[in-house]
């Protein structure tokens, strides 16, 4: 499944990310655990939480990030 279809209050692990430098720099990389904090309306970003960091990821980008439920 992809990040965009994740729901709140479940834990996921990142499986595969597209080649975007900033994604890696922000620690969004394979094997990292996260949860969904909120989704913004009007096709807005998905906010995920890794550890105690909140990161807003654009919806189109979130569709390219493969994840797994744990």
């Amino acid at each position: 499944m992809v990040l965009d279809s994740c729901v709140k209050e479940k834990d996921y692990i990142i499986d595969d990310v597209p080649e975007v430098q900033l994604l890696k720099a922000l620690g969004i990389r394979k094997g990292v655990k996260f949860e969904v904090q909120t989704k913004l309306p009007l096709q807005g970003p998905v906010v995920i939480k890794i550890g105690n960091r909140s990161i807003a990821v654009d919806k189109s980008l979130a569709r390219q990030i493969e994840v797994q439920e744990v």
Binding site: Q37, L42, P45, S60
Partner: protein, 585 residues
């Protein structure tokens, strides 16, 4: 590379110890910078780039050093302009690096921390925001971290001045040492090392979420995040408009009108005989009369309060939340939410707003935000002028003017999104912690902003007022007014003297409004005049910055488009208004 160094740094660093202050964005680097440095702080553009950096002197014992606040970056991959600048600074060499680490997000910070060791420069790490980390239940073993990083780690709480003296001590004592660079690691190797270090030095303890943490969460969710954002914006508006009005009415206007102007008039009266020269100085449009009243009593309070509120929101970490909340709506215009920050800054001044678009990565976003800001966002000076003109006479007209600005913003945005090819950069943003701004850093920034306003804005404004005084008192204005009378009176329905607004509006935006104060206008005329001023030419400084950042063609294009819109919309309002007036009357 000698000349390269000179070019990159407009300051001489000879016989000073050169310290690079580095770190990820939003780790409190600027707070540390403002605490370490004295009053002599300046910012500069890194030659050949759009990146600005700040530098300042630091005195320690009897040695002088220079601290350079290198733009915050997550890594040294040179994938963005800020990262290239950071890499250049490292390659130019320095005596020491202070690398600021955010204790609440240590894992992400270690990427840069480890990359820095690959340069032969001694490093001291400042483990900052330790108090926040403790509140969140994060426990870091500093001694172990030192061993793993093979360099000193100083725990700091910058906003409370904790650990800063020791940080500086360590940096200065390291400056004499020579170190060898660590072997280069690939990205994958580095992240393995990071996972290993984190497992070794960091522990988590469960803590009940603090009030701030709860606030951080609810300000991000659509509900109640969006209503909170609207409330914050409304409150900010209230402080700027209400506070500005109070400052103006209670302190500045009485001071100027009852004390300063009468005093100057009397003094000039004693020295200068009645006639054209006395009129030039203290006549109706006198330089000493208008030249003090307009900039200081009518404009300055709003500019000051705007920057006060904006800097507060900026330093508290709240603005990125607005960007996240607004992303959906702005993406309908083809630009991502982050662009709302330069647009908000545009309500202060268009020049820093246009420079702020450099943070946008695509050309489409840059040109769109720059155009929108030049087109329909009134700057604080112009808003001050609108409040002075309409505030007492018709609140409805004032609201109409701002409503019209918002509608135009949206329409121009939609048109440009269709007309300009390309896409905005998708949003990818780490949201910083909410925190109470540090006082030292806050006032330093406010001071720098007000200094820039006074230097950049008051000069042209005074020149405009001198021109106004000369052409008004010598009769040149009269012949010009007669020349364009058919247009001003016939199409816009304004008295011919309003042509002064059109002339001065070229210089600064508020000067397109303020001359209307001296005329006796009815409600329709006030509205028409304000609409002309709202969309009329961006000021000379904006022209300059648009030409520099884009091209002469772009700035001329924007100028022609805004002026045409101004005359078209204002004329239509006048014609319809007059028609209705005739029907009713």
């Amino acid at each position: 590379m000698g000349c390269h160094t000179e070019k990159a740094l407009p300051i001489s660093s000879e016989d000073k110890i050169k310290i690079l202050l580095m770190g990820n964005p939003n780790v409190g680097k600027s707070v540390i910078f403002s605490k370490l440095t004295g009053v002599h702080v300046d910012s500069s553009n890194y030659v050949g780039t759009t990146v600005d950096f700040t530098y300042g002197d630091v005195k320690h014992r009897n040695k002088t050093g220079m601290v350079i606040d290198v733009p915050g970056t997550y890594s040294l991959q040179a994938s963005s302009e800020a990262e290239r600048v950071a890499t250049n600074f490292l390659e130019e060499g320095a005596d020491a690096i202070i690398c600021v680490l955010d204790a609440t997000h240590l894992d992400r910070n270690l990427d840069l921390a480890l990359s820095l060791r690959e340069y032969p420069i001694p490093i001291v790490y400042a483990l900052n925001l330790l108090d926040v980390a403790e509140r969140q239940g994060i426990i870091i073993d500093v001694e172990k971290l030192e061993k793993r990083l093979k360099a000193p780690v100083i725990p700091t709480v910058a906003i409370k001045n904790k650990g800063l003296r020791k940080l500086l001590d360590t940096a200065f004592s390291l400056a004499n040492e020579t170190v060898e660079a660590f072997p280069k690691q690939t990205e994958e190797e580095r992240w393995e090392t990071i996972a290993d270090i984190i497992g070794d030095v960091q522990r988590h303890e469960y803590k009940e979420p603090t009030f701030i943490e709860k606030l951080e969460y609810i300000t991000l969710k659509p509900w109640p995040g969006i209503p909170i954002a609207l409330l914050v914006l409304l409150l900010s508006l209230g402080v700027v408009v209400g506070g500005g009005k109070a400052l103006r009415a209670l302190i500045l206007l009485p001071l100027v009108n009852n004390v300063i102007t009468p005093f100057l008039t009397r003094m000039v009266g004693l020295v200068v005989p009645a006639g054209i020269f006395r009129n030039l100085l203290v006549g109706e449009f006198g330089i000493l009369k208008i030249g003090i009243e307009w900039p200081f009593a009518l404009i300055l309070p709003y500019v000051l309060l705007f920057y006060l509120v904006f800097s507060f929101l900026e330093d508290s970490g709240y603005l990125p939340r607005i960007a996240v909340l607004a992303d959906g709506a702005l993406s309908k215009l083809g630009i991502q939410g982050g662009n709302i920050i330069p647009m908000m800054l545009g309500y202060g001044c268009a020049v820093p707003a246009i420079l702020g678009t450099r943070a946008a990565t695509t050309y489409k976003e840059r040109i769109m935000v720059a155009t929108l800001v030049s087109f329909a966002i009134p700057c604080a000076s112009q808003s001050g002028a609108f409040f002075a003109l309409l505030g007492d006479k018709s609140i409805l007209a004032l609201i109409l003017v701002y409503l019209m600005s918002l509608i135009t913003l949206f329409v121009v945005g939609l048109v440009m999104n269709k007309a300009i090819k390309g896409k905005g950069q998708p949003m990818l943003l780490e949201i910083p912690n909410l925190l109470l701004p540090d006082r030292t850093a806050f006032f330093k920034k406010l001071k720098l902003r007000m200094k820039h306003f006074l230097l950049d804005a008051e000069g042209p404004m005074l020149i405009g007022i001198v021109i106004a005084a000369v052409i008004a008192e010598t009769g040149i204005l009269n012949s010009f007014s007669t020349m364009i009378e058919p247009f001003v009176e016939g199409w816009l329905g304004l008295p011919k003297e309003a042509s002064l607004s059109l002339l001065l509006g070229i210089i600064r935006r508020e000067l397109a409004v303020l001359p209307l104060l001296e005329l006796d206008l009815n409600l329709l005329q006030l509205l028409v005049g304000s609409v002309v001023a709202l969309f009329y030419l961006p000021c000379l400084s904006v022209f300059g910055v648009l030409t520099k950042e884009f091209s002469l063609r772009t700035s001329l294009g924007i100028g022609i488009a805004t002026t045409a819109t101004a005359f078209l919309i204002a004329g239509i309002i006048n014609q319809i208004g007059t028609f209705i007036w005739a029907l009713v009357g």
